[in-house]
Point group: C4
Chain length 267, copies 4
């Protein structure tokens, strides 16, 4: 069955880019603020960012695909697929509200290399779109249930601490002790290299559950910072459900503590 | 023995491409349909694609080699080697039957990165050869023996659901819940990005064995879709053998259940 | 201590090539034969190749370095380091003896990707130097002590089988069943793609020890193939020592069988 | 919410370089000596290099970032982040003291590939800055507490042994037996390829603790080699504390021996 007699044609296919961004529209925005919320500890950042997209009816303008995500498609209820991705949405602020870009998605990069590539891409896109400040959202895992989660901060420049403090952000020496790992950290580090000021907002969370309460805390800070009015009812409801489940599990004494090391990660 | 006195010559060898395709012949086809069947759950896709190649006497026209495959050669009975690969075959349809390209092979890419590279290459080749539609074949592992396997579907566009339904494809909300991983998923996702419509056909399978029954189910759908007449006797025979082995194992009660996570993968 | 006032200078350093070959001399050879012997099962290939280098007093003409080797330097007795590498030596044949290039070294590539890169580099260098045939040497692990190791063969073209058979090479259907993994396999596979005929010679070995007896068997075939006269005393002596150790271990019944999977690898 | 009607804009972002060096200043130095001390066994190299930076009040002139480091930012006491990095500092020698560049940092490359990339970058930068000799500092793990740590040496050329011996460096046949792994080894190997002479100084250490005593021993050799006067009090104090802890642990008999294999690594 071997067919080696024929002439050999080498077809050269250009290798897939490490990160592929498809922009459906290129929004003209006024020095927008970028808010990143991707999966991580307690999914705090992702929950907050997705709630924000819904509440301000932000418009998706870009899909980001990458070899650094799992090789996977997801199905909707009709059986229509979409490749796993990250997405960018924009919201045009009115009055004193700034324009906002929101970056959220299914996954973070699966390898250190992939993390750098994706955050580099996001920061370069920030430059391209004239982003004036980056907020990254994450969870800070403390390994126990939290009644009133604080929102811890990290910044690219000390001049930002005072402003953040006014909006309820806590700066606590030695917290988090191991620094910030993943997109929420890298976008600060790479943003700083590019001269974009950036702040990481970390909602305290047990780290045991998906945590809407941590997301709520983070969003309250954002509302204050950005003059936004958001309806947080949906998150509050979910938080109450989680609390209920948690207390039942406590009764049953079946809640196995996850390994400490898992809690250090901040998405 | 060190010889450092001589002049130093640096010979620059161009790095090996990530994916190397050798076309023995470049077939001119009329808007062909591409059918992908690579190793995966129950080897359903690979069994079906290889049976199709045999039945329609498809002609191999391309070998695909890659650094993302294992560094391995296989031996035939005479001791002649061939490098592990994927292959493309074509079949010229007559009458109402479309022209078909069949992609099958020894392995899928061994890493997420490799999976993306290989599927990207395959989809770009589809564009190059004027492919009008992609069918990817896979198994859907359900973790128990199946008497009458359904063929589940996933599509790049909702408009395809009705057509597929007429040929017996089932769309079932929440199945498969974790999406589709590997080439069968990625070729849909990347095909969609390139504007090529694509369908994944997943034959139900226990996931415990190589499963000719799942392959048979998938091929019956393809026969209906593509106006093909195929002799499925060989698959039916193999399926009966497997059933026999399975029932003996059940008697002996030695059939250890594989881990649930292994069943989620769809080739 | 931060110094950000100064101007920023980006120094662009070209990335290290995947494989770096330093040729100390470019030998002009008459259609040489290349013999590869790198670490693998029983170290059969490496032992044989290094013995050959010594016996024919081959001259080193190239060092091969790579990111795919471990990040390691080795020390000689004086504390002088050398970066781990592969090496090429040449021997000018006289009379009916062909010119020979011998490729040996400390390591094979540590990843599948690295294996492909290094074998690709070696085969491209073969083309560059006019190599007429490649012999790769390896061990075939059989999981038990072998009195008289056979030398199994694998070839790029069936026309080579007869010639090999005359020199004692055995072609045995289904052996090795899992094909050939690593450089000894890839150089056949990639050589075939480039139109260079190639043969793999696999000396049977238990796979439990470094095995000079397997190396001896392989070298006897090479002596016959290439009209070489080699003194194998040193290998025979080592083989006797190993046999002695093995029989003592057997007595002590402490010889734990390695896992079967380890034996399938052929260097 | 899908917005596919709009035109598609592909924004091409250039991929992040494997290693990014930001020079704040380009120092003009007279054939400087480079001293490398990065994390490794007992953190001997890093401790010594950082102590040297402090003592000679060396000036930071470059930050090195890389995809081969963890995707992590660290926080100072105010909550200001910095991306994990390596750094270069310079010191202008007076009188008989040479100019010195000191390379230290948070991490070594996380993969073999990354190790090669980073050491390649460092050696190319050495060439660029006219470095006349490289000293790499590391620990040599011996698996037991050491009263008077020796400083073992490894060199790129035998001509360096005599000079090193005069300054107390020990060359001991077969130590370290497994060679030198990581930056301290690679910078010798790659430096040799570029014609830069290089020496690795390895302070003996148990490998169980961060070891200021090993660092002290290494620095004493450097003081002799480079005509430096350094105050080692801080290291001596830390060493005494570690000794105290070690002896208490010994009493408590809770000091579990680390695996032998961990001790072979030399940073």
């Amino acid at each position: 069955m071997e067919n080696t007699a024929g002439r050999r044609v080498k077809n050269r296919v250009i290798q897939m880019d490490s990160v592929v961004m498809v922009m459906h529209e290129r929004p003209e925005l006024r020095a927008p603020v970028l808010i990143e919320g991707l999966p991580g500890v307690g999914n705090v950042g992702k929950l907050a960012a997705e709630h924000l997209v819904e509440q301000v009816k932000a418009v998706k303008f870009a899909d980001i695909y990458s070899k650094h995500f799992p090789p996977q498609v997801l199905l909707d209820d009709d059986g229509v697929i979409r490749l796993v991705n990250n997405e960018m949405h924009y919201y045009r602020g009115e009055g004193e509200r700034p324009d906002i870009i929101i970056l959220t998605g299914d996954y973070q990069g699966m390898t250190p290399d992939g993390q750098y590539e994706l955050s580099h891409h996001a920061v370069q896109t920030c430059k391209d779109l004239g982003v004036s400040r980056i907020y990254t959202l994450g969870g800070y895992g403390v390994g126990k249930m939290i009644e009133k989660p604080r929102v811890l901060g990290a910044v690219t420049d000390i001049s930002l601490c005072e402003e953040m403090g006014k909006h309820g952000v806590v700066f606590s020496k030695g917290e988090p002790g191991s620094g910030i790992v993943g997109a929420s950290g890298l976008m600060l580090g790479l943003g700083k290299m590019e001269g974009i000021e950036a702040v990481c907002l970390m909602g305290e969370t047990s780290g045991y559950f998906v945590d809407p309460k941590g997301a709520e805390a983070v969003l309250k800070v954002l509302m204050s910072l950005l003059n936004l009015e958001l309806d947080l009812t949906a998150l509050t409801d979910k938080a109450e459900q989680i609390d209920l489940i948690a207390s039942k599990l406590k009764e049953a004494d079946t809640a196995e503590a996850p390994k400490r090391e898992d809690l250090g990660y901040i998405g």
